[in-house]
């Protein structure tokens, strides 16, 4: 039953809707007024919605609001058409508008249901407010932390710096703290983002770049001591570099801190020096004796020769013999003087490789005669000791001398209590399995009370009577051995002769020790 469009649009047979209302003016007015109000309201809503969407560009699902707008305009239009059809029976037009409205409503309703889960997921204003509050709190906390850390960074006396590792592997300063700026005479602003090589003096760059490189390549925290020339003079820093890595594990930043340990080093050296002087003091008496001996021989032989010369009884062979003796004695004195001179020297020289057996020999030589006078025999067991160790030979000699001196004191005390004692045994040997050298000093002085054995390396701990010992000898010795990467232990031993005594065992690693290892072992 096909109907032509013209026929479909033909409204000739309809009566206006007002007829149904019998043209009663009150009913008509009611309908017209209501429809006008509804229509106008409907038309105003999309304007408001559109305005809202335009002004609030960030609103979620804005197109939904526009769909609503279309749907409401369509609704509003149906109401105006209702007024129109009161007088004009354009019901087809009205129907078509309703059809449009129906589609718009359907689409809007469908879209609304479809969107519902996502709309529900949108945070409510209250939730938003709560999360905003939390965020504000977080921001405040972070600001406070940042302020705290930046005050840390800015006020800490320790020199702090951040080095950026550039994509090409080179280094640039990201920031330095005021302490570093002050110590180093640097300007933080000028340094920022500049390559290390361009930012600091070439000598300084040559010193620090290898360290940064080591940290970058190993990806591990490193620490070391370095002596740097600063405007305030030469300073010693204990520096620590901490690598910061990206997700791929590449080091992108290095955090550095440098503690000025110049003063501490000086005090340490002073304590070592004090103990050295104390050891020297105990040796001075023996030394006076040692020096007076050759001097005496020289005097006696020259006087002899002179007397014979005066009496015309000097034959050349006798004169030659006397002069040779004198020369030998001056050699002997020269050696003693050298020894005392190097021993008293403040700076023990740099770390170097050496054979510990030489130090032991030298220490034995220094006290053997003096101890022999007190009936104390030093027995050497020279094993195979060929491995070199790294450190300062004079310091090791000082440690061994200190052990001898303690052994001597123990022996003297033992004798005072009526027991026999008088042997100090010293042995040096390699431990090829562990690549280390072992030095043992054993006495027969009765041993140490086991209850105090753990304390003997503590500073100022002494078993000697007031005024006899500073209590620093062993603790300094411990520090020296530790500084060489080795260890020193003490235990009581039963000797073959049946007597008891103490055995100190020094174990020194034979490979060179790096500065960082040394620092770690101190920690």
């Amino acid at each position: 039953m096909a109907v032509g469009l013209e026929e479909f649009l033909d409204t000739g047979g309809f009566v206006p809707h007002g007829v149904c209302l019998l043209w009663r003016p009150d009913i008509l007015m009611l309908h017209v007024a209501s429809d006008v109000l509804i229509g106008l309201s409907y038309f105003s809503i999309p304007v408001a919605l559109t305005y809202f969407v335009i002004r609030r560009r960030d609103v979620a699902f804005g197109w939904m609001a526009l769909l609503f707008a279309l749907f409401i305009i369509a609704c509003g239009t149906t109401h105006f058409l209702s007024i129109w059809t009161l007088w004009t029976p354009d019901y087809v037009l009205e129907g078509l508008v309703k059809l449009v409205t129906a589609f718009a409503s359907l689409a809007t309703a469908a879209a609304l249901w479809w969107l519902m889960p996502r709309l529900l997921a949108l945070p409510s204003p209250r939730e938003l407010e709560a999360s905003n509050r939390a965020l504000a709190l977080e921001v405040a906390t972070r600001r406070e932390m940042e302020a705290r850390y930046s005050s840390f960074f800015n006020n800490l006396g320790e020199a702090l710096f951040i080095v950026q590792v550039l994509p090409d592997g080179d280094f640039a300063y990201e920031a330095i703290n005021p302490a570093l700026a002050r110590i180093g005479g640097l300007d933080p602003e000028q340094l920022r983002d500049r390559r290390v090589r361009d930012a600091v003096a070439p000598e300084l760059a040559d010193l620090v770049i290898p360290r940064y490189t080591a940290c970058r390549d190993s990806g591990e925290t490193i620490d070391y001591e370095e002596t740097l020339d600063m405007p305030a003079g030469q300073r010693v820093f204990h520096t620590m570099l901490v690598p910061v890595k990206d997700a791929a594990g590449r080091v992108i930043q290095i955090l550095g801190s440098g503690r000025d340990v110049t003063e501490r080093k000086r005090l340490q050296e002073e304590v070592v020096q004090t103990s050295k002087l104390a050891t020297l003091g105990t040796l001075a008496a023996g030394m006076a004796h040692e020096m007076s001996q050759p001097l005496n021989v020289i005097r006696l032989w020259t006087e002899n020769t002179l007397t014979r010369l005066h009496e015309n009884l000097l034959d050349p062979a006798r004169a030659e013999r006397a002069l040779k003796l004198v020369i030998e004695q001056t050699d002997r004195m020269g050696k003693l003087i050298d020894h005392v001179r190097t021993f008293g020297r403040r700076d023990g020289g740099g770390m170097r490789a050496f054979h510990p057996a030489h130090c032991v020999e030298s220490a034995v030589e220094l006290v053997r005669h003096q101890y022999a006078l007190e009936d104390i025999e030093i027995v050497e067991h020279a094993g195979l000791a060929q491995l070199p160790v790294t450190g300062r030979p004079l310091e090791l000699e000082q440690v061994i001398l200190n052990l001898f001196s303690n052994a001597r004191d123990a022996i003297v005390a033992r004798r005072a209590s009526g027991e026999a004692a008088g042997r100090i045994m010293v042995a040096v040997s390699d431990d090829p399995d562990r690549q280390s050298v072992v030095i043992q000093v054993t006495d027969d002085g009765g041993g140490i009370d086991p209850s105090v054995l753990p304390q003997i390396f503590d500073p100022f701990f002494t078993t000697k009577e007031v005024g006899k010992g500073s209590g620093l000898g062993l603790s300094i010795g411990y520090g020296i051995i530790d500084g060489m990467g080795g260890r020193i232990e003490a235990r009581n031993v039963e000797l073959e002769s049946g007597s008891r005594g103490v055995r100190f065992t020094i174990t020194l690693p034979s490979q060179p020790v790096s500065s960082s290892d040394r620092e770690f072992s101190h920690a």
Partner: protein
């Protein structure tokens, strides 16, 4: 010519002992050398000794002990001490050890010789 005076030297430094022995022999003394206190005491016990010249620091028996032992046997034996250093607490300067003279090393052998001469009542050399 009367028998020469017999001097006992206790000194552990062989070269010094030899030189002093040589010098004193040259000056007419009979000299015996001992390397330590024990040996010196043995020599003293076995022969007549007119004077002792001793070091203080020696192995086995030191000079101080040696002098004490000698004084128990002979209160009047002239003693000459040669020492590298004299400890402050040494009481050798006390009257009761006399006749005793102390010299610091290096010693002048002429002084030692003159002192021995004086203590033994012999004429002084110039």
């Amino acid at each position: 010519m009367p028998d020469p005076f017999h001097i006992l030297i206790a000194e552990d430094e062989v070269l010094a002992a030899m030189a002093l022995e040589d010098f004193l022999s040259f000056k007419g003394f009979r000299v015996t050398v001992a390397a330590n206190g024990v040996e010196a005491l043995e020599r003293y016990a076995s022969e007549r000794v007119h004077a002792l010249v001793t070091d203080l620091r020696m192995p086995r028996m030191d000079g101080q002990t040696l002098i004490r032992e000698i004084r128990e046997r002979d209160a009047a034996l002239p003693v000459v001490v040669m020492t590298g250093y004299l400890t402050q607490d040494s009481d050798l300067t006390h009257e009761r050890w006399k006749p005793l003279e102390i010299f610091s090393k290096p010693v002048n052998p002429r002084t030692i010789c003159n002192t021995l001469n004086r203590m033994l009542g012999l004429p002084q050399e110039v």
